[in-house]
């Protein structure tokens, strides 16, 4: 167990010996267990004890150095602090990070269960049962090649020379099942599902099995789609993946680096249709990975990013906030150059405004492409250009019937997508990465395999 007070005392003493007046430290440790199975047999059983520490040290003229280590012992801390001091010689004087002015503020209480890890044999039994049930659901499902059940207990600490002492404990569990189905003379098809919870006993494994089976079976009778422009309806997961890939729009670090689609003057500008709201909600009760503080010890809190279609705020670290003359928002990592990023997006209709065309219903549509999941975002997204060309799994809806699409890509520009949203269909749904309704977008380019 990490002890923030002890770490603080140790590093204070070491810093004094090194003549360092300003420093901070982020540390994490955890224990993981995971299992994979293969056609009724254990495939791999895995465990890990992890630890990591990052120390930053400032010179008297404000330059910062950093060193990371896996060694949390007093010797490891001393080595890391010494390394950080040496690296500080090369620190950036023009835009140096500092300690967050909000690192001493009280945190919003975060009540999350801390659960004991289950014996790994329990995880194994659960996953073997799940695989058997999934294989039994349809004769075409012959393997579940990608599967896993894991549990993790972790903790993280942030302390600094101002006296900040943050400590966070977490428990999490995940189950994923990706089935592969094959029929004579047809190409193999694959689909899957994921469930997250605080512990494996809370996982809705049955729902995971059901969703994996339904999705896989729905892709068995596939057809090629004609290349052309289609109205598309994105699943909540797919739309959140797309927004996440272009989160540089909201990222003050990217703005300062010239890598964002936004600039300093973009706040207030129209980004999307007027019925779209988007905010980052790190403390949402459904965000299982929530932390009450960021990598600089700043408290996390909800932050509106798009309000009635207009860009409302940027995500900030201590350094970017200082440049913009605002307060840090709790979205920092930890580094000599501090990264900035979102936690958990929520997309919802603007209150009091109709959420687009209320007649649109994906179950009654005709000639519309239903995009269930996007792939290869790392390769097909040009974040600083705004364009994307991505493979997807989904269906062509004809007279309300879903016809699986053999293989296809969807291409477009995020700025146009946000401004050509036709409707937000239904209530926002919880996904592992955020909340979002089904999102209708006008006229995207679809390329089918010929």
């Amino acid at each position: 167990m990490l002890n923030p007070q002890q770490l603080h005392d140790q590093l204070s003493t070491l810093a004094k010996q090194e003549g360092i007046n300003q420093w901070d430290l982020g540390a994490a440790s955890g224990t993981d267990l995971s299992v994979q199975v293969d056609r009724g047999e254990p495939k791999q059983l895995k465990g890990a004890q992890r630890s990591a520490v990052t120390v930053r040290a400032w010179t008297s003229d404000g330059r910062v150095g950093i060193t990371s280590s896996t060694d949390l012992s007093i010797e490891g801390l001393a080595q890391a602090l010494k390394g950080a001091k040496e690296a500080s010689v090369f620190g950036d004087l023009e835009e140096p990070p500092g300690l967050s002015c909000r690192s001493l503020e009280p945190l919003i209480p975060l009540e999350r269960p801390r659960l004991a890890l289950q014996p790994i044999q329990n995880l194994l039994k659960t996953l073997l049962d799940a695989e058997r049930q999934l294989l039994d659901l349809h004769p075409a499902i012959n393997t579940v090649p990608y599967n896993g059940l894991s549990e993790r207990n972790g903790e993280s600490v942030y302390i600094n020379s101002l006296g900040s002492q943050r400590h966070h404990l977490s428990s999490s569990s995940a189950c994923y099942l990706y089935a592969r189905a094959e029929q004579d003379g047809r190409k193999p098809r694959s689909a899957g599902a994921v469930r997250l919870a605080y512990g494996s006993e809370q996982l809705d494994v049955q729902a995971c099995i059901k969703e994996a089976a339904e999705l896989t079976i729905s892709h068995l009778d596939y057809s090629a789609i004609d290349t052309g422009y289609y109205n598309c309806v994105f699943s909540p997961e797919a739309f959140l993946d797309l927004i996440g890939a272009f989160s540089n729009i909201f990222n003050a670090r990217s703005v300062l680096d010239g890598l964002s689609l936004s600039n300093r003057d973009s706040l207030g500008s129209t980004l999307a249709v007027p019925f779209l709201n988007l905010w980052d909600d790190p403390l949402h009760k459904s965000n299982l990975g929530a932390s009450a503080f960021d990598g600089e010890g700043t408290p996390t809190a909800p932050l509106t990013l798009i309000e009635a279609g207009n860009l409302a705020h940027f995500l900030h670290s201590e350094g970017t906030a200082r440049q913009f003359g605002v307060a840090p928002t709790g979205h920092a990592g930890m580094g000599s150059k501090v990264s900035v990023g979102p936690d958990w997006f929520v997309v919802a209709p603007t209150p009091g405004v109709a959420a687009g065309d209320a007649q649109l219903n994906r179950h009654k549509a005709d000639g519309v492409v239903w995009i269930d999941s996007l792939s290869a975002l790392h390769a097909g997204v040009k974040a600083s250009q705004g364009s994307f060309s991505l493979p997807f799994d989904g269906w062509l809806i004809k007279n309300g019937e879903r016809i699986s699409i053999e293989a296809a890509t969807v291409a477009g520009d995020i700025r146009k997508v946000l401004k050509t949203i036709l409707a937000l269909e239904g209530e926002p749904l919880v996904t592992p990465g955020g909340m979002c309704p089904y999102v209708w977008v006008e006229g995207l380019s679809i390329t089918g395999e010929t």
């Binding site: 895995k46 990371s68 896996t70 390394g83 690296a87 990608y146 792939s375 390769a379 364009s387």
Partner: protein, 471 residues
């Protein structure tokens, strides 16, 4: 200074003997120490210097020949005797084995240490320090400014990964190595009104402390600047099916993703490769010969010994279109019968090794690149490929960073936004021409055992038809 060496022999033999006595068929212990450095320069400033140090161990236990050799794997950053024994106990427990309940399995002790690192002791100190690294990166970003137009952002990055590894197993395996990987990257974002282009290049080597010092910053900056200027005003490609010529070097990523992964025994074990029962059969066009090897000096995917203590080989995967071999690691050999090829690789101690590619390439053919382009009336030339991925059914996708239309046998206007999609079984027989200009490029490969250093490569190749996603 050596940390992982023969002094560990006694401690490791105690662990291996304990694992064997508990009933394990095989116990393997992988130890590593690393010393990493990354430096980032933006415009005229060094904006990040990140040193990182660490060590750890991964213990893997195999048990049950009748059940297909189950295995348990536990990693830890606690290298004390107590920490390692605790990890061993946990790995044994995963297979319902327990230390102290002896079943009589013996352990004959470790072989003498095979020390592949003895001549590499000074590599870390021979690498450039932070000041030299920063100076070279700033030279690169200055060259970009000199050669580029409409540049909104210029970046140079350097990372050095030094690793000391020691692997010991209850079959007597006892090997040590020192490894050095360095990568250099330059990237730009150009903007002119609504037009934008982003271009990045990454260079990588293994086992060459002078890599950064010898780097030709001017040539790299010229290449990137030219590419950026070309792509800034490029139109989006019209979607459709095209004959395609893929350039050499990083064009090889298509073979790596679309076919190479399907020739790893990891995929045979999962039942996710269509080639599992195709040994000796024609799986590609007769013009295609493909090789994976770990031997080329200073190539990014080369290694003196793999992460399971096995020396790498040159493995001919496909010869004139016929499947000749799979890439196999220890588990792959135990479970599928394919002999080990020195392909057991992992990102670090927290991953169990798996069969992975090293330097993978399509061999050179008889044609000039001009022959390939002149054979096409209307098609796409993919000069620079981006990343890609392959799904569980063999469906692949790749982005094209820099492309040109081919019109009437000649290169035409530049196009952007192209994505190639297809599956290996369909596309491999369509590689109808191979050029005579084989070249390799460094890359990273992410898969079951983490992110590892690899090389991809090929000569220019022609694919008769492939689906191109666009606008």
């Amino acid at each position: 200074m050596s940390f992982l060496d023969s002094q560990w022999q006694g401690r490791l033999e105690l662990l291996l003997a304990a694992g064997r006595a508990a009933g394990a068929d095989l116990v393997e212990i992988f130890l590593e120490r690393f010393d990493r450095l990354s430096v980032l320069a933006e415009q005229e400033r060094v904006t990040s210097v990140n040193p990182s140090l660490g060590c750890g161990a991964g213990i893997r236990v195999f048990h049950g020949a009748a059940d297909g050799f189950r295995d348990g794997f536990v990693s830890t950053t606690n290298l004390s005797d107590e920490g390692l024994m605790q990890a061993l106990d946990q790995a044994l427990g995963m297979l319902n084995l327990q230390r102290g309940i002896s079943n009589g399995h013996s352990f004959a002790g470790l072989n003498p240490l095979s020390n592949y690192g003895s001549s590499k002791q000074n590599w870390l100190t021979q690498c450039p320090g932070v000041q030299t690294s920063a100076d070279r990166l700033l030279e690169g970003t200055a060259k970009l400014e000199q050669h580029g137009k409409h540049l909104q952002a210029r970046r140079g990055s350097y990372s050095r990964d030094w690793q000391e590894m020691l692997v010991a197993a209850s079959d007597g395996t006892f090997s040590r190595d020192l490894r050095l990987h360095q990568t250099l990257g330059l990237s730009v974002l150009a903007a002119d009104g609504e037009h934008r282009s982003s271009v990045a290049r990454r260079f990588g080597s293994s086992d060459n402390p002078r890599d950064l010092i010898d780097w030709d910053a001017d040539a790299a900056a010229r290449d990137i600047s030219a590419s950026s200027a070309t792509m800034l005003y490029a139109d989006y490609i019209e979607a459709g099916s095209y004959p395609v010529v893929l350039a050499n070097r990083f064009g090889g990523v298509i073979f790596h993703e679309a076919c190479g992964h399907l020739l790893e025994t990891t995929q045979v074990e999962r039942g996710t490769t269509p080639f599992a029962d195709k040994m000796g059969e024609l799986i590609a066009h007769e013009s295609v010969t493909a090789i994976d090897e770990g031997l080329s000096p200073q190539s990014f995917g080369s290694l003196a010994v793999d992460d399971e203590g096995f020396e790498p080989q040159r493995t001919t995967l496909i010869e004139n279109g016929i499947l000749k071999a799979f890439l196999s690691d220890r588990a792959g050999e135990l479970r599928t019968g394919h002999a080990r090829t020195g392909s057991g690789r992992r990102q670090g101690h927290s991953y169990a090794a798996a069969s992975r590619m090293r330097n993978t390439f399509i061999a050179a053919g008889p044609h000039s690149p001009a022959d390939l382009i002149s054979s096409i009336d209307r098609g796409l030339y993919c000069k620079v490929m981006g990343g890609g991925s392959v799904g569980p059914t063999g469906q692949f996708n790749f982005s094209v960073e820099e492309g040109y239309l081919i019109e009437n046998g000649a290169l035409g206007k530049p196009v952007k936004g192209a994505t190639l999609i297809g599956d290996a079984e369909t596309v491999m027989p369509r590689i109808s021409m191979c050029g005579n200009d084989l070249d390799l490029a460094a890359g990273f490969c992410g898969s079951v055992s983490g992110s590892i250093y690899v090389t991809v490569g090929q000569p220019h190749i022609k694919v008769d038809s492939i689906t191109v996603g666009g606008r």
